[in-house]
Amino acid sequence: MSGFEELDHYDVLEVEPEAAPDEIERSYRVLYAAYESDSLATYSMFGADEAEQLRDRIDQAYHVLSDPALRRSYDAARAGELPEEEEYGGEPVVLAPLSDGLAQPLAEPRSRVVPTFDQLDDVAEAESDEETAWDGPRLRRARLLRGVEVEDVATATKIGPAYLRSLEEDRFDDLPAVVYVRGFVAAYARFLGLDANAVARSYAQRFEEHLCAKPRGRLLGRH
């Protein structure tokens, strides 16, 4: 809560002191984007100066925590000077009557921890099923979970964004022959870190079923 200078590097990056390097990397990216000057999420809460101050702190923290040697010495110094946490020892907090509103005490809600939305966790959930049939919407969900835009996939895979969208929307009639589709899907899946073979096989199978189901042209239908 403000007072940014009092936060330690882990607080600034909003990660646990045990965080793995990839967690630190991910959090840094999310936070840096969050405090950019035109960020939707922050402009109404932090002034331009505060946002800049925060970005500096985020950079500083990332600089230390992303470098194994710097992080080790920071951790050692931090362990030496961790302040004693002041614990609240009184009765559980009760929401008491208030002259302008409540006339009777409210029960304090039972505190509960809900599994939070975590990108990697959700990816694991979405993709753990080996029998998964891969269709366009599923690919799109896998992409969104990773925070990747269609344009990023296009740049990395050299597949046109229009084809990628057709893939994601299962618009089979807008796609080229099956060998190309298989290649596209494999490249897309590989870029997302999925099992490229499995995804391409599953997608191509649905694609071929669609082709077979289509009414044949007159020439082919004739005996």
């Binding site: 809560m1 403000s2 007072g3 940014f4 646990e16 999310v30 936070l31 984007a33 969050a34 405090y35 960020s39 939707l40 999420a41 109404s44 809460m45 932090f46 925060l54 002041e86 609240y88 020892g89 009184g90 907090v93 009760v94 929401l95 008491a96 208030l98 302008d100 509103g101 409540l102 006339a103 009777q104 409210l106 029960a107 304090e108 809600p109 039972r110 505190s111 509960r112 921890v113 809900v114 599994p115 939070t116 939305f117 975590d118 990697l120 966790d121 959700d122 694991a124 959930e125 993709e127 753990s128 919407p137 799109r140 969900r141 992409r143 969104l144 979970l145 990773r146 925070g147 835009e149």
Partner: protein
């Protein structure tokens, strides 16, 4: 009602379910400040998804001025509503329960045929909040109205879970913050026991206050200075406030990241640990579902929106679903007793 021929038992079939004593429902409030961000969509669909998972669910429309939850759920003009309780025409909330076409899901509608019913006054409100906890259900979901009226805030503060719905639009994000700010300071004020500490919290709500209290940290410092014990209580009240963020109408990966950014603002500005519990894709299926007057998780269960909404419901159930690949620290901490015996969300 429901003419699509899916497995809907005759109305009233789930009435006969046993009502075990001593188990309070979990109260989930769905708010977000701005109108039109999808509070009702999220409330109706989470309720439907939880009912589909075998839970007994009651969903309550507290938006007395713009009640339309019944429409979203495919319930015709309700014969009784929360307005009857507020106006003291009906003292028993249970008599206001209306069946919906979804097995296991019942509704308390907002109004029926009354215009401009005022929000309940403070005594009535506290009584209502107590009654909600006595409803025969596993989950009671409360769909909040727009704005930051104290009655809206109290549902949010008393709920076991307060879900904050926002969309990736500047107006929605701003209103979500005003909503959070109002809820936050109301909670702190309610948690203080001395008049002087309450006065300080009251001053802090006014951003241009003379004492220069601009942030919750400033406030904490001031409260500590006058009464150290109140300072500790304030810290506890801050730590106990855990809103759950849902971003609705997501169209891009950037929109998905908005939830993380809002979570960060909660932490850096208010010092509170919010949870980003999920997002809902912008999806034409939602529009079609509303036209069909059915929740999208029922009418289009394979649509993007339904998949995402079901995922949020699973988070509320505290299980990461059938594909439990990696469990988060949070998931390990929860694991409510007995949940394994129930049918997980498909």
């Amino acid at each position: 009602m429901n003419q699509t021929g899916d497995a809907t038992p005759p109305t009233g079939a789930h009435r006969a379910q046993p009502r075990p004593y001593g188990t309070e429902p979990r109260l989930v409030a769905v708010g977000g400040g701005k109108g039109g961000v999808g509070k009702t969509l999220v409330a109706a669909n989470l309720a439907a998804a939880l009912a589909q998972a075998g839970r007994r669910v009651v969903v309550v429309d507290t938006d007395l001025e713009g009640a339309n939850l019944h429409t979203v759920l495919g319930v015709g003009a309700p014969r009784a509503s929360l307005a009857d309780y507020v106006a003291k025409r009906e003292p028993d909330l249970r008599k206001l329960l209306v069946d919906t076409p979804i097995p296991g899901l019942r509704l308390i509608a907002g109004t029926h045929g009354h215009l401009g019913v005022p929000q309940p006054r403070s005594f009535r409100r506290v009584a209502l909040l107590g009654e909600l906890r006595k409803l025969p259900a596993d989950f009671v979901l409360v769909d909040l109205g727009a704005g930051t009226h104290p009655s809206v805030m109290d549902y949010f503060l008393v709920g076991d879970d307060g879900i904050l719905v926002l969309t990736p639009e500047a107006t929605s994000v701003e209103n979500a913050y005003s909503f959070l700010r109002a809820a936050f300071y109301r909670r702190l004020r309610l948690a203080m026991t001395s008049e002087s500490a309450r006065a300080l919290v009251h001053q802090a709500m006014d951003q241009g206050n003379e004492r220069g209290i601009r942030t919750p940290l400033d406030l904490l410092r001031e409260v500590r200075a006058i009464a150290p014990e109140e300072g500790l209580r304030l810290t506890a009240a801050i730590q106990g406030f855990r809103p759950r963020i849902v971003v609705n109408s997501v169209r891009s990966a950037e929109d998905v990241r908005l939830g993380f950014a809002v979570r960060s603002v909660c932490r850096k500005y208010f010092g509170i640990a919010a949870d980003y519990v999920g997002y809902v894709n912008y999806d034409d299926a939602v529009t079609q579902a509303i036209r069909q007057r059915r929740p999208v998780v029922v009418s289009h269960p394979h649509s993007d929106a339904a998949v995402y909404l079901a995922r949020i419901a699973r988070k509320l159930l505290g299980s990461s679903g059938p594909g439990r690949g990696r469990s988060t620290r949070a998931a390990r901490e929860t694991a409510p007793a007995g949940s394994a015996a129930r049918r997980p969300l498909a």
